[in-house]
Symmetry: D2
Subunit: 413 residues, 4 copies
């Protein structure tokens, strides 16, 4: 019989993998694929340590889930052995549908289908493979199980997914701003009226969690250079599809990647034919980046230029601010780009473009974080907090970014 | 010739003590006394690791100051060797006037003189002992030196004092909420128009610093149990002075402590006679707590009761909230106390009392934190930040606390 | 009903205190006394962070014990709820008999009775107070319980006591050399034939533990300056007793300390009269150090000199080496001391003395560390290791130390 | 003008990149290539965090070198600005010649040329590109510069390379056994007679470094599963070259990788034609692993089998021990393999093979670690240490490993 396995995790020390179906799921090729998908996409171009993968994140989130289950049980919340296994599976598989470079390429390789939807499709397949033993996990994942707190632990504003990725991303980037007190937050969890709540004295830790998340967004996830790198990759993909569509050049690609380069595959296609999902489960960061390496010698100037830029880390320069982009300024960059690069006006967006980035640290009415006061009253964290800080968090923050080819730096004042 | 010394500091790894006057100052009995004054008073009754001292804090703050000096110089800010030594001395001695149990007893042992004022008196004495070699340090300390940024590094809203105590208190309490990115903040320091500024990309680290400070205040420094312990000690001192004043009982005390028990020594006294300061420099946590141990057998019921409570950790129970204390409720506790304890109404405040605690995370117009934007504009952090979070910080938060003897717990609904 | 309590511990994050008798024991004055006994005596004069107490150590060791119990149970080792509580109590109380400044004064305040023996006496008393509910814990503590592995977890060459003090002492001193992989060691624990064993793949972690312990001994516990400080305190005590015995001077002391200054109390005395134990349970670091502060003004030159030396940190200078002390050299120091200090030859040992320090990292045949090989063979670690490193550890190492008053530094070549 | 850059490093906090040639070298494609070469090859299959790269390692080693330079200067060792830049460059480029998967494939992609030799060739090229401004760095690297200690900091038994990789590999694997006190070791460095020495009181830190290294070797670098993974990759390469040589199948590969699959390129070839080096500088982990992904569908059974094994993590099973492999036992495995797999006897070594692993923690007479005693005597660490531990380290340890296809597990007793 297999035994529990122990895996070293620099974030938590050790993660225990319980024997049985969970070990089998981890050994499945769908899950092993996550070893080759970096959690933070191309952020390692700014934070060189950020090479950790969806694989490690999923194990870590499962570890926190186990801690949460143990804590709740110690407070006399009933969680059966079946429910424990199911909620562990649910968190383990929550990202199974992520494609190469995580969020960066989410809408480039396939169209109109989110990674969450692909996750659902893959869980269905796995459920077939495992004789329907994932049914309860899927109910929890889809919030169809009566014990709502189990779903909230998987997906909510204070779930084990977020707690792990903040801890892990802080750890591997070295950005201490993102460190959260996950152990204290978990120790303060409880269940009240079937809902996940945080006991009152944990309120500062939750505040800390929310501000850590906000800071990580602006300092790391939306770091203007990381943003520039990701958009470069998106543009590479877009251009490659265009080159392929013109049929003038064969582009180097693995068979699986080639399938997605030559075909525009929609959600409907995924659902009607299993072939697409099959190819998708073969794709990871390796397919993409290896092609980029070869494409830098493409005959297509735009594709070659973009790949060379990524490989040599000559990323787009970018300007980020709280005001909408000045379109006259953008126009000036475009004009200079026309002069500098041998391309027509239809290709200028590969060299100059702008975007809006929106974030809110805490979203009221979307799976609120509930605080259990000593007098058994439940309050939303934004109301329970003793000052207006958190109300402030609930506001949307928009930032505006203008990107242009690095050669254009300085040509416009 | 003496060499640089290296001291292990679990917070920073190693702290280097430069040779010369700084080593001599550290060896001076005034500074060695800080070894016996805990940084966080009685907070160790709640956080058992919080036994670190003013001595270690002063060395740590000096270490951060050295980092700041090195960073500024690397950005071509001129700091002469004399100024470096002086600013290191200034931060080293900034807390030299603290009495036993740091803040807890600040207004109990002596009256109407702050620890800052005693620090100034002691620096004067040291300056005499050291042939006026502390004059420049004192100018910086007192903000009388033209290079204002040097004073701001010693005492401001983002000074090395605060950076050290937040880091150190977090470390020794184990409260990760207080961890700040001191290294990043320091690396982002610069000087503009003679003022200390933070470069724009350090803004999130400063935000983090401010929220960490706020959380440490509410979760640790104003923790209701730590608060209760400190007030117990304050009441013990008050009662002991009363017992001594009645002359009915000799109280066990070291000669130095006895001097302050038998005399009410004011700022004017300190300034007119050096004897008081002499006794003061002999006082530390040992004098106080050892007396408490013996006084638990005092014939005075109140004194004995209070000392026993502290020693057995039967601290005041306390209720803390955002609303002013309900005086009817307080009255009920007082009535019960009258029934329960063999004391007259004039002694009831030893058993039941209330208080207001006020804190603001960031004080606008009191040594602002200035952000240097890329376009060489200086903004206050509260304006530079991209949302209303920091404006919120600038608001005063008041909390109201009601404390009562632990035996009274539950007797009033 | 009381609930589990959570205590912040910077070493482990959080320590959970289970409800029931364990909380009651912790609240007992005997245990609270440990809050005022520093784990490492006067080592803070060298490592300023080393102010942690026996109280924190005992809680930490209990935390590791809980981890060990959980691990063994997950490997199907039967440990009943009663046994769990008992083994937690046994480790919690293992140091209850320590006197002020831990080891430093072990043989100065009382004579011919060890802290282990006092621990046993105090456990007896507690057992009476708690209606014999400590009986099983005492059986385990005294190795009289059939499941030998429980005792081995409390007291053996790889027990939770040692794992905690190495981890904790490293943490608070900042000496990273002492860091051990306690979590990995515990995860590798198992029970075979009723004995505690380590599974084979944990062998490197055990080696690391042994070398960390050896290094901590030589670098920290036997640090020559810390050693000098401790011996200074021992000599102060010895001199104070002498001064008291001559009857010429009243020495400032708390009543409890006074009892031990005026009486030589032996093991037989402790066992025949409970009064001595009563006084002993009132003694802690405060009593001792406060007296030292006052005694620096003693009329007795030797006592005054020694106290002043400790307070001003003018510790003995010391020379440590692998060769026995050169007695001619020692004689020269003694001659100079006679010239320099106004004392007779009988008092010279207060100014010049030597000693031998012996340590062995691993003691074969004294509660061996057993390795469970994959083929179910048990080997002692010294045999199981793949090279001669550990055999080397099993050798006794002796070092020789010569100490002399700091004023004598340099007077002898 | 460019400014100093700061890079987040989770191991050290921040790494400063000085302006000038060092930034230019880092931006060079040769150095950027190291971003895609994992420091620990396939060890992430055992330690999922171990994804860090040669790029990060080189920056970290440079950071330690800067610390060492600062320390030595503070002890009045003369290091000019030119020498500082040169020694930083030397350590920055010390691994520039590493190929994909670091050590794993060192002798598979090319033959009879080490990564050190390729590093030397690449430094030569860079020296040409940078107008001979690397000449001093190369002298130091090649130990041709009079100040021997500079070379010893780059390459010796206690160099900044080793200090970084032990620290970094421990950090990213989460194996705390490898943590070393790099800051203490560096603070104890000095120069005596032109040689790098460690001051006597750093001796325990050096011992700790040596044992940490030994433990990392056996627990991590030679971990039997990591070993199995690496040999699987080596066998894949070997088989791919064989398949290509037979000419029956086109194997998917990038142009650069294809060059090395179709040609056997020796040291002489590298030196005679720059084309080979050009292709080499395009190769990284991506080229290799992407091919493995496609080759799992090869028509060649052996190649397909091996690739599938690596991708699905069905690694060789292995038995490791202190005794030479039992050849009868190996024979039995081979016989079973013949029955189980459709291959001829010449291909059996792809399924069953054995090997010897040799390590010595410290190599006497190969760049010794010298300890500077207080009396200005220099001793080798193996002599200076106070017991036989280190002599033990100097012994070679051999281990014997037998590997077989995972399907063979259990078929031989």
């Amino acid at each position: 019989m297999k035994k529990n396995k122990i895996i070293n995790d620099p974030v938590y020390g050790f993660v225990t993998i319980p024997q049985g179906i969970i070990q089998d799921l981890i050994e499945h090729p769908y899950f092993q694929r996550l070893r080759n998908i970096k959690q933070m996409g191309l952020a390692n171009l700014v934070y060189p340590g950020a090479l950790h993968t969806r694989f490690h994140h999923a194990l870590g989130a499962m570890h926190l889930m186990k801690m949460a289950v143990d804590t709740l049980r110690s407070k006399d919340v009933v969680i059966t052995a079946e429910e424990e296994e199911a909620v562990l599976i649910a968190i383990l598989l929550h990202d199974i549908g992520h494609g190469p470079y995580s969020h960066a390429l989410e809408h480039s390789i396939v169209s109109d289908i989110s990674h969450e939807h692909i996750s659902a499709l893959l869980m269905n397949r796995l459920n077939d493979d495992f004789d329907n033993r994932l049914s309860l996990a899927m109910q929890i994942f889809n919030n169809q199980y009566p014990k709502a707190f189990l779903h909230q632990l998987v997906s909510g504003q204070l779930d084990t997914d977020r707690m792990d990725y903040l801890s892990r991303d802080s750890f591997f980037t070295g950005v201490s701003e993102g460190i959260i007190g996950f152990d204290r937050i978990i120790k303060m969890m409880n269940v009240f009226d079937g809902q996940l709540v945080i006991e009152e004295k944990g309120i500062y830790s939750v505040e800390k969690f929310l501000i850590a998340r906000r800071l990580m967004y602006w300092q790391v996830y939306f770091h203007k250079t990381a943003y520039a790198a990701e958009h470069l990759l998106v543009n590479i993909l877009r251009r490659a599809k265009y080159v392929v569509s013109k049929g003038e050049e064969q582009l180097f690609a693995t068979p699986a990647f080639s399938h997605f380069l030559h075909n525009t595959i929609s959600r409907a296609d995924f659902e009607s034919s299993s072939q697409h999902l099959g190819y998708f489960t073969l794709l990871d960061d390796f397919d993409i980046f290896t092609s980029v390496k070869v494409w830098k010698d493409s005959k297509d100037f735009v594709l070659s230029y973009l790949c060379e830029s990524l490989l040599r880390r000559k990323l787009y320069k970018s300007e980020i601010g709280n005001e909408p982009v000045d379109h006259l300024r953008k126009r000036s960059f475009e004009k200079k780009a026309m002069e500098m690069f041998p391309v027509g006006p239809e290709d200028i967006p590969y060299f100059v473009f702008d975007d809006v980035i929106v974030n809110e640290a805490y979203r009221v009415d979307d799976g609120n974080i509930n605080i259990l006061k000593k007098n058994s009253v439940i309050l939303d964290i934004a109301s329970a907090s003793d000052n207006s800080t958190l109300q402030a968090f609930a506001q949307k923050v928009s930032k505006y970014i203008l990107c242009y080819a690095s050669e254009l730096k300085g040509v416009v004042n």
